[in-house]
Symmetry: C2
Subunit: 194 residues, 2 copies
Amino acid sequence: MAKRWLTKRERQKLLLDTIENDPFLNDEELADKFDVSIQTIRLDRMELKIPELRERIKAVAEQNYAKVRSIDIEEIVGEIVDLELDKRGISILETTSKMAFGKTKVIRGDIIFAQANSLAIATIDAKVALTGVANIKYKLPVIVGQTLVAKAEVTRIRGNKKFVFVRTYVKQQEVFRAKFILVSLDDEEKHGIL
Amino acid sequence: MAKRWLTKRERQKLLLDTIENDPFLNDEELADKFDVSIQTIRLDRMELKIPELRERIKAVAEQNYAKVRSIDIEEIVGEIVDLELDKRGISILETTSKMAFGKTKVIRGDIIFAQANSLAIATIDAKVALTGVANIKYKLPVIVGQTLVAKAEVTRIRGNKKFVFVRTYVKQQEVFRAKFILVSLDDEEKHGIL
DNA sequence: TTGATATTAGCACCTGCTTCTAAAAGTATA
DNA sequence: TATACTTTTAGAAGCAGGTGCTAATATCAA
């Protein structure tokens, strides 16, 4: 990377970018990259108020450590607060701007679906379940910040098929409903789910 | 925290737990916590093969740094490779183990739904669209590693309601299908979507 | 009391810095 | 061209949070 003819300003701008999308580079590696001395990099960092490698790594780790937990929970999508296997379940999901489309404040449909689907699956007493058929209906748009409360009810069990009805509310108002037919995968590992 | 009468084994077990849910503690803090010397903590870490603070932080940071990026991609859910507005669209999604349930290799239903839903919305020529009603059917389980190809077709347009039919395939085999009724939100900002 | 296990102590060394001082090198201006 | 200014480089001392090593104590069981 021959970046010889960079001015101080150009180099510092690039430095910001570089560290932005790879915070794991130490001063020596940065010095190599820009073909300057370590001291120059240090001066640049000072002027730009970029913290040292270890602080940067720590920041990344801390930022995401809080997130990790919510991502693990995201696997469930929503927190299950009540559950009686094969009977009913309740899941709560706080909506954030991440769950909305780009600039708008409307929560994406697949998020609402995912919560309902996950809850339906959690409510069923089977190691793995797969959604066979679902009938869904979005009744009202959900806005970022609103709390989604999904309530599942197992309505019928026939062999390895279980019927679950999920209704999702925002402050008592029904915003979504879905009817799932879940098929236990234990028996039918391979094909022919339906 | 008076943990005086811990045996070596008990302390080491607790140490693992402690570091597990707070990897940001250094040896001195751990020594205080367990009321032993720093050297003892070091010995414990060696025996348990727990890396030093900086390595732990780095690991946390790196793990999540990768995750953050895949979450950004998740916002799109699938890559749109062909699109004729208000007519049809095709989206491709490579499945990874992240999209599967815990230990199994079966892709979660909400992922497949999200791809289809996102594609349906992208196919519609409106700034914001919201899924009104959808009829969906999962035909075959999808295994981690398989590539999902979703094809959307706009079948009818009536006022601000647009009907989109999405079929998802794995190697020509249909694994999922859904019928969406999408409602443009431009006109009906507030309520009464349906 | 003797051994074995567990714990503590001390020292040299490492990385990736910070802070400081100081010397060059490059550039513009009078 | 000499002067002044900015920019870059260099070197030394110190710090945090360790590793790796040796050696001295404690503790406890037979």
